[in-house]
């Protein structure tokens, strides 16, 4: 089980990093979202894996999952929604303002060709 979770974290990270290194805003945002999953699961796993023992106190039960990482990850999930929303807004604003959804500034000449290349897609 530990292997499954660890490899899932690794694969999510890999996918996240690869998409984060793309040139357009949308895949980069998705990449960051994947990384967020990876980080959240990673933090959560720092409480070690426990099945069938949620941290809800019950009489006569002694073992519980570690509640602290859960509390931290809970707020992390909500905050990451706020962050994603801000990043999406910035990316969207940049695209609407310049008709270009590149993450990096394009050299002058390339910007024009890129805009031409994008234009049909935007209107298709």
């Amino acid at each position: 089980m530990e292997f499954l979770v660890a490899s899932a974290i690794g694969i999510l990270t890999s996918g996240g990093i690869y998409l984060m290194l793309r040139l357009r805003t949308f895949p980069v945002i998705l990449g960051i979202s994947l990384l967020t999953y990876a980080v959240n699961v990673f933090l959560f796993a720092s409480g070690r894996l426990t099945t069938g023992a949620p941290p809800i106190l019950r009489d006569g039960i002694e073992t519980y999952a570690d509640p602290l990482p859960q509390a931290l990850v809970l707020t992390a999930i909500v905050i990451s929604f706020g962050m994603t929303a801000v990043v999406v807004m910035i990316g969207l604003g940049a695209f609407l303002g310049s008709d270009d959804d590149h993450v990096d500034d394009q050299p002058e000449a390339e910007t024009n060709t890129a805009a031409v290349k994008d234009a049909p897609e935007a209107r298709s």
Binding site: E2, A6, G10, L19, L21, F44, T50, P55
Partner: protein, 960 residues
């Protein structure tokens, strides 16, 4: 008056001129004058203590662990300088009121001036050297503002930048020196440091500390080779020049040398560095000054020269030298401020400061003539004026100083400096005031109003009084000298007299004055010679140095930091992984303590789905809609994983967040292109794959490693589990941690969430107000539109289940303390319920039924949470201490009442507000881009004018 008030007055007072700006120029100047006067009187109230030879101390611990205490000290040296700063400041304020024109923003000017004044007073009153450094940097910053006050002049901006660069660099060096000094002594308090002369001078770090501190002093006081910034700072308005370069800014370096004199002076290093620098500066400044045609440039270089003189005197390391230096500081401040103000008057009236265009002003401006001539003669060292007295003392001291084993060197150089000094003073008088009246002045010069000539006149009265009756100044100067010397030496017995008999100093003085007159006589040929000789210009050299530094920085930084996000991300990933790898290989690894748990069929199936979705995303990410669906699968699998691993709260949060995130991304995708084109080269994709795999392997290895080992020490979760019910009154430990144990964290988090939502709202507003608006209005949708934007099934369905959703949210909220749930999750659930209305019935319909704006909901949430926290203050408990009790209303079971529930309500509202505000902002963009659709889907309202018909025809292309 307390020293704190004296230092604080100018700082707080600097808020006033700006406020008074609209009340008129006199009111602005008046309020500034009053603030300065109050501080001046405050200093004077300490006079009896100072005269008694005592020291006023006002200590307050600020950061005692760092040795940084806000300790102020007033001894006679500080008193002397504070008096100069505030006294001359008063005259400058009065003068500036009349000098500045109507176009200048006077409130701004006086605000800067008071800031500067406060920083200067802070320097001279600091007892802690770290505090002194703070004020030191403040003078650099505020003088930057003052020098660059005329922002429209390029010279002003360049001069200000140069002054800031040079004095700022010096300040950095000085921080180093002061820290070393503090390390040697073990205290940063001046009163302690000054007692440890032997300890400091015996330390091997003495020389580095000395050099670093002197760098600070020399840059500030414009000593060779850092003298070049001062003349360029002359682009400032004249009141600033008069203030900064007579009594304050440039004297700060001198002050510090005097302050540190007891512990730093007397060593060969001090003597060699300080005396040499002072001597060179004195002669060089005087020679350059003679050949300057700009009146203020002449005065600037003469200031450089006189600062050199004072530095040289301090450098000799004798008590007599220190006394002469103190006396000259006083004299220089009086005549130089008067001269600067006179130069300002001439500039103001004749509209030029070029000496070549002036002459014969004696008849046209008799008052200014008398003031400037007396001040200039004093500077030249003519008897019966104060400059003569201190110059005699300087020559006397020079006569006894032997540098580089050459008996003649210092006396000859000193005489030479005095000679040129006399020459430029004579030139100032001769070429500006004497000679025939010309008829080609840029403006007809005449004496100014009282407001302009009275301040310099007052100073000239001092010049003459001290010059005729030096015994009046003698006790005070000796008192100051005693404070400079500390325990290091006795105050010299020598008296201040005009006539000392036929001593060598007198002959040197005569040589200087006569030589000065001869220099003036042969000025024309020597000017031709001067112009013919090539000399290095400081400004191009300085600019080349700056350019070189910038180039170097660019060469180092640009390859790594070229503005490309992908590059940063790749570099950051590789660096993080390699640092982790380094730790991995050099650290020790413990044996595994946990056994791997067996994985059943279901977890493996979930894992397969997650991995497949992730890999699918990587390969299919060019199809954006598809990748959005895939990321939904990933999120779903993560949520299910949370359920499986005993984290129901997390699963519920992740699941609901997933829903709103997907909606958000869909809204964005509405505008963005649907496909990502292939742009990166194969090589680049291989590189990115490599980086990604390395990063993935690293996180895999790290998490796999620690999941198989127990924590090194027992986690604090034991405490939370043990106290959740006893202390927090809840059985859902995760929720109790959120709203109770770590409530303050949560409070911060909902604020961050609120700020993020407001940021999105602000960005939307900006977009909608700018050129994007037109673009959106003209936009043609790039997707096929639905024929029916508000399908009846969906509208009815969402409206019917709305109360159910709200009830579920309420239930989740209430049970949160004891069962999975709570404010976060309830907030997300309710948000989804509301979003459904937007989606089904349209933006207009939903907005019309919205009673409270979402900003208000966020604010209310944060406020409720904050007030809950503050509530605990009323029972003398720290912020956010929670309490709970059990209550029973007869027909129901006993139930719990906890303040934490109120806090959770705040969380709930903040989450609802933030999520809804974000989504609403996106929708507004979309709404603008589509044809306005029906605002009344499925509504029949007979009172409406446009009746039912248009509603049933689905003409809309509403995107939401």
């Amino acid at each position: 008056m307390s020293l704190f008030f004296i230092v604080a007055l100018p700082f707080f007072g600097s808020l006033l001129p700006g406020l008074m700006n609209s009340a008129g120029r006199s009111a602005t100047a008046g309020v500034t004058f009053t603030v300065s006067l109050a501080a001046f009187v405050g200093i004077l109230t300490n006079l009896p203590t100072i005269l008694a030879g005592d020291v006023v101390l006002a200590p307050v611990d600020w950061m005692p662990m760092l040795g940084l205490n806000f300790t102020l000290m007033l001894d006679s040296l500080g008193f002397f300088f504070a008096l100069l700063i505030l006294g001359i400041g008063l005259l400058i304020i009065a003068y500036a009121r009349h000098y500045l024109s109507r176009d200048d923003n006077m409130g701004q000017f006086f605000a800067y001036l008071l800031l500067f004044q406060g920083a200067m007073v802070g320097i001279v009153l600091s007892d802690n050297i770290l505090l002194l450094l703070v004020f030191w940097e403040l003078t650099s910053l505020s003088s930057f503002l003052l020098i660059g006050y005329w922002k429209h002049l390029p010279e002003g901006r360049q001069g200000a930048r140069m002054a800031l660069t040079v004095t700022g660099m010096g300040g950095l060096a000085m921080i180093g020196g002061m820290l070393i000094l503090g390390q040697i002594v073990g205290s940063y308090d001046l009163s302690v440091i000054l007692q440890n002369r032997d300890l400091i001078q015996a330390d091997p770090m003495y020389v580095p500390a000395l050099i670093l501190i002197l760098l600070g002093c020399f840059t500030k006081s414009a000593q060779f080779p850092f003298h070049f910034w001062l003349p360029h700072a002359m682009a400032a308005p004249t009141p600033v020049s008069a203030y900064l370069h007579s009594a304050t800014m440039v004297k700060a370096g001198i002050f510090l040398m005097a302050r540190m004199w007891p512990v730093l002076s007397g060593t060969p290093e001090w003597f060699m560095i300080v005396t040499t620098a002072g001597l060179i500066t004195m002669v060089l400044g005087a020679v350059i000054a003679l050949f300057k045609h700009d009146l203020k440039a002449l005065l600037a270089f003469s200031t450089v020269s006189h600062l050199g003189l004072i530095t040289m005197l301090l450098g000799t390391g004798t008590a007599f030298g220190a006394m002469a230096a103190m006396f000259h500081i006083l004299n220089h401040a009086t005549f130089k401020a008067a001269l600067f103000m006179s130069a300002g008057i001439i500039d103001h009236e004749a509209h030029t400061r070029d000496i070549r265009l002036l002459g014969g002003l004696r008849k046209l401006m008799p008052v200014t003539f008398v003031i400037a001539t007396l001040a200039a003669l004093s500077m030249a060292g003519i008897p019966l004026l104060n400059g003569f007295l201190s110059k005699e003392m300087m020559l006397e001291e020079a006569n006894h100083t032997v540098l580089f084993n050459a008996v003649w060197l210092v006396p000859v150089m000193a005489t030479l400096g005095s000679l040129f000094s006399a020459a430029y003073c004579f030139r100032l008088i001769g070429h500006v005031f004497l000679g025939p009246v010309r008829d080609d002045y840029p403006a007809k010069p005449h004496d100014p109003g009282t407001g302009l000539w009275l301040p310099p006149a007052l100073l000239v009265v001092l010049v003459v009084v001290i010059g005729i009756a030096p015994f009046l100044a003698e006790p005070f100067v000796k008192l100051v000298t005693a404070s400079v010397l500390g325990d290091a030496a006795e105050v010299p017995k020598a008296y201040f007299k005009i006539w000392h008999g036929l001593v060598p100093a007198l002959y040197m003085s005569i040589v200087a004055v006569v030589g000065g007159l001869i220099m003036l006589a042969v000025f024309k040929p020597s000017l031709r010679f001067w112009d013919a000789v090539p000399r290095p210009e400081a400004k191009p050299i300085f600019e080349a140095l700056i350019e070189g530094a910038a180039k170097l920085a660019r060469a180092v930084i640009l390859p790594l930091h070229n503005g490309s996000f992908s590059r940063y991300a790749a570099i950051a990933t590789v660096v993080m992984v390699s640092v982790g790898y380094h730790a991995w290989t050099t650290g020790t690894m413990s044996a595994t303590t946990r056994i791997m748990q067996p994985a059943g069929l279901v977890p493996i199936a979930g894992w397969l789905m997650l991995v497949a979705a992730t890999i699918g995303m990587v390969f299919l990410h060019r199809n954006r809609l598809l990748s959005l669906i895939l990321i939904g699968i990933v999120g779903l699998m993560v949520s299910i994983g949370f359920v499986f691993f005993s984290a129901p709260d997390l699963a519920m949060t992740q699941f609901t967040v997933e829903v709103v995130t997907i909606i958000l991304l869909l809204l964005a995708l509405n505008f963005l292109p649907n496909k990502t084109p292939v742009e990166s080269s194969v090589l680049r994709r291989v590189r990115d794959t490599g980086v990604a795999i390395i990063g993935g392997l690293a996180t895999f290895a790290l998490s796999y490693h620690y999941m198989l080992r127990d924590a090194v020490s027992s986690p604090i979760s034991e405490f939370h589990l043990a106290n959740s019910y006893k202390g927090g009154g809840g059985t859902n430990v995760v929720n109790v941690i959120l709203v109770d144990f770590r409530g303050f964290d949560t409070y911060g988090e909902i604020i961050v969430l609120g700020i993020a939502a407001l940021l999105i709202y602000a960005l939307t507003e900006t977009l909608l107000g700018g050129p994007v608006r037109a673009r959106l209005l003209n936009r043609k949708p790039d997707q096929a539109r639905a024929g029916d934007m508000h399908p009846m099934m969906m509208v009815v369905m969402t409206r019917v289940i709305m109360p159910v959703v709200l009830m579920v949210g309420f239930y989740i909220f209430l049970r949160g303390h004891n069962e999975p749930g709570g404010g976060f999750i309830a907030g997300l659930i309710v948000s989804i319920g509301v979003v459904m209305q937007y989606m089904a019935s349209g933006f207009g319909w939903a907005s019309a039924r919205l009673k409270y704006p979402y900003h208000g909901v966020i604010g209310a949430g944060v406020l409720i949470a904050g007030l809950t926290g503050i509530g605990s203050w009323f029972v003398s408990k720290p912020f956010l201490t929670s309490d709970f009790t059990y209550a029973r209303i007869p027909p129901f079971e006993k139930f719990e009442l906890a303040t934490a529930a109120l806090f959770d309500l705040g969380v709930f509202l903040a989450v609802v507000g933030a999520v809804m505000l974000s989504l609403e902002s996106f929708s507004r963009l979309a709404r603008l881009a589509s044809e306005p659709s029906s605002d009344h889907p499925m509504d029949i309202d007979p009172s409406r004018d446009d009746a039912v018909a248009p509603d049933l025809v689905s003409s809309g292309k509403e995107a939401v």
